[in-house]
């Protein structure tokens, strides 16, 4: 679950991480009011959308009066902000965050995340922060310093001190950095985050550290122990189709092709897309039916695919497993087709658990399908049916 900047800063503030003063606003008047309540005469107005690259995309503006804050809020609110992470359709700005500005002497990059190789929580940092950190790190991985942290605590102040030094945070700043690292890790563990990223982390003229921008992602799988944080979920930010799919125990991503794809399991789905794309096919979606989906869930997922007007052919590639069997998926497809009454060529490849039974079920529903012997055959037939339609 992605948090907005203002939510992340509110949480970090509670743990003693220094953040600028700010207020979230959903209207022009509220934005102006927010600015009047803040210290100083220079303000940042920041679009609150779940996407990186806001600064470069014009989603963060610096202005010199409360009236200008209002004018900027007017520009941003309702705008579809397009950043490198949003795709061409952008993300609609429903809120802006109005913040005091802080003069930075230098900016760093700092993050806490789960390091997969080690299976440990790790602090990552770079002496120089900024929006281009990913590109710079890709070109030169050694600019990223890291420190693995044990969850059960223990003596680690010296390790934090050394980490601070590696980021050129010395003298008075070193102590402040160690406090910051400790607060961040405490916050990370207590709210079950999977990522906290501070970029930029500013060193001010007065020698303080302050988190200018924060990205925080919470672990969806741990939300059962954080009922208080569930309310932070911004449902407006999710693609409604993908959200409906999630509610049906299906991972679904919209794509721009014309072959609707139905697969169980993420790995098999990725493999199917690879073969389909190699064969010249264009998937209309990515679909991974989870093992926990019932036939009604699957029917709901199949509805989404039939609702997509670009879909000309449906490719079903299902390998019945111990948990998700072919007959359950057949039943879901049958229910959906019966209620949607849209007739499309369906190329069906069933293998594994209850494959024959699944095919029989579909025939009993009166559904015609093009039977495929294996993955290669299914993909060939799916691509072949698109071409015929286009001609």
């Amino acid at each position: 679950m992605n948090l907005h900047e203002f939510q992340a800063k509110e949480i970090l503030g509670r743990y003693g991480v220094p953040v600028p003063q700010g207020k979230v606003a959903e209207s022009v008047a509220a934005a102006e009011r927010a600015a009047r309540g803040l210290p100083g005469n220079r303000f940042a107005v920041k679009a609150q959308v779940h996407a990186g690259g806001r600064g470069r995309a014009g989603g963060i503006k610096l202005v010199d009066s409360a009236a200008e804050v209002g004018r900027t809020a007017e520009e941003l609110l309702g705008l579809a902000l397009v950043t490198k992470q949003t795709g061409p359709e952008g993300r609609r700005v429903d809120r802006v965050y109005v913040e005091e500005t802080v003069e930075a002497e230098r900016v760093l990059y700092l993050a806490v995340l789960v390091e997969r190789r080690l299976g440990k929580v790790a602090l990552l940092g770079a002496e120089q922060g900024g929006e281009d950190i990913e590109e710079r790190a890709a070109a030169n991985p050694s600019i990223i310093k890291s420190l693995a942290v044990d969850l059960d605590g223990g003596a680690k102040t010296s390790a934090f001190q050394a980490f601070a030094k590696s980021l050129k945070l010395a003298g008075k700043l070193e102590k402040k950095a160690v406090d910051l690292f400790e607060a961040l890790i405490k916050a990370f563990v207590e709210v079950d985050a999977s990522l906290i990223e501070i970029n930029p982390l500013a060193v001010t003229k007065s020698g303080d550290l302050i988190a200018l921008d924060v990205k925080m992602v919470l672990d969806d799988n741990a939300m059962f122990r954080h009922p208080d944080l569930k309310g932070l979920h911004d449902k407006d930010e999710l693609d409604p189709v993908e959200m409906k799919a999630q509610a049906n125990e299906i991972n679904y991503v919209r794509m721009d092709g014309n072959i609707g794809v139905v697969v169980n399991g993420a790995g098999l789905a990725l493999a199917t897309h690879d073969m389909l794309t190699d064969a010249g096919g264009k998937p209309a979606n990515f679909m991974d039916i989870r093992t926990t989906a019932t036939s009604l869930d699957i029917a709901g997922g199949f509805d989404l695919l039939l609702d997509n007007p670009n879909v000309e052919v449906v490719l079903v590639n299902v390998h019945g497993g111990g948990l998700q069997r072919c007959d359950t998926i057949a039943e879901g497809i049958g229910i959906s087709l019966k209620r949607n009454r849209r007739s499309l060529p369906i190329v069906l490849r069933f293998a594994g658990n209850n494959a024959d039974y699944g095919r029989t079920l579909l025939r009993n529903y009166g559904i015609a399908f093009i039977d495929a012997a294996d993955m290669g055959d299914a993909i060939e037939k799916a691509v072949g049916n698109v071409k015929k339609e286009a001609a």
Binding site: D220, G267, L268, A271, H319, G321, L323, M375, G376
Partner: protein, 291 residues
């Protein structure tokens, strides 16, 4: 021989009395798995599916000589169940549970440090030694005893490759699903080492995908230790849309190390045979075995 489990493996099931636990325990027993005990705190003393149920793993081991565990405990208590099994020194533990919080998985990894247990999962379909032992929930319709060791992160893609290698007459020594979660027990390198040492295994198939670093770790390992048998790999996700998470937790490309092309290049550089697509894995293995 095979790896991890075989016909002599004595299995206890944690969470045996639940609906999922009961269903899959019955299926495993029907396959011939030697299930000797169940564990369910508070229900010690009863019998379920004709095996004794105990309150603790340690008790179940003492009373029945169990040496492997299959965990069906729901996400909130799955980590505690895994840690209990690790502390009781169960040899092989498979955790099937999906949606375990990642920090819980980190705590389990900490418990594994210096421990005797080999943990498979969480979010794993388990380990199958065809004809010997099914410690998991995978389909067994296509599995045949044979000579190929398979390790993967994805259950259905594994079934696909199992079907193919059986159809090609190769069969499988053992298949291992290390689980789809970002933090898990044994990884590709651990399995690779076991398969290399296993006399029954003649060839090894790695089923990788975008995200994570398992494949890169295999490449790094093979550069220092030459494999004595052919290793074939498939990397799924060459055509996944960029910067999207596709189903599995953590397929985020982090600093350019998780893309399919990078993984393929690293593995190829380490002498691994790359299968061009899913359909041609068995064929790639047959060619590698013949050369």
């Amino acid at each position: 021989m095979a790896i991890l489990v075989g016909p002599d493996t004595r299995v206890l099931v944690q969470g045996i009395t639940g609906r999922t636990g009961s269903y899959h325990t019955e299926r495993a027993m029907a396959y011939g798995t030697n299930v000797v005990a169940g564990v369910r705190p508070g229900k010690g003393g009863i019998r379920h599916l004709d095996v004794p149920v105990f309150d603790t793993v340690a008790e179940a081991m003492t009373e029945t000589g169990a040496d492997a565990s299959l965990v069906f405990v729901p996400p909130a208590n799955a980590a505690a169940a895994m840690i209990e099994a690790i502390e009781a020194e169960v040899g092989v533990v498979v955790c099937v549970t999906e949606r375990v919080p990642v920090l819980d998985a980190v705590r389990v990894r900490a418990a594994l440090e210096g421990a005797k247990t080999k943990l498979v999962g969480p979010n794993s379909q388990g380990v199958l030694t065809p004809g010997g032992c099914k410690l998991g929930v995978m389909t067994t319709v296509h599995g045949r005893p044979g000579s190929i060791g398979i390790v993967s992160r994805s259950a259905t893609l594994t079934s696909e490759i199992v079907a193919q290698t059986s159809a090609a007459g190769l069969g499988q020594s053992t298949t291992v699903g290390i689980g789809g979660d970002p933090v898990h027990g044994i990884g590709f390198v651990d399995c690779l080492k076991m398969f290399i040492e296993d006399t029954e295994t003649q060839g090894i198939i790695l089923i990788g995908e975008i995200g994570g670093a398992e494949e890169e770790m295999v490449a790094d390992y093979l550069k220092s230790a030459k494999a004595s048998k052919p290793v074939v790999a498939l990397i799924a996700g060459r055509h996944a849309p960029p910067e999207r998470r596709m189903g599995h937790a953590g397929t985020l490309t982090m600093f350019g190390r998780a893309g399919a092309d990078d993984k393929i290049k690293a593995l190829r550089g380490a002498g691994v045979h790359i299968a061009p697509n899913t359909q041609s894995i068995a064929e790639t293995m047959q060619q590698a075995l013949a050369s």
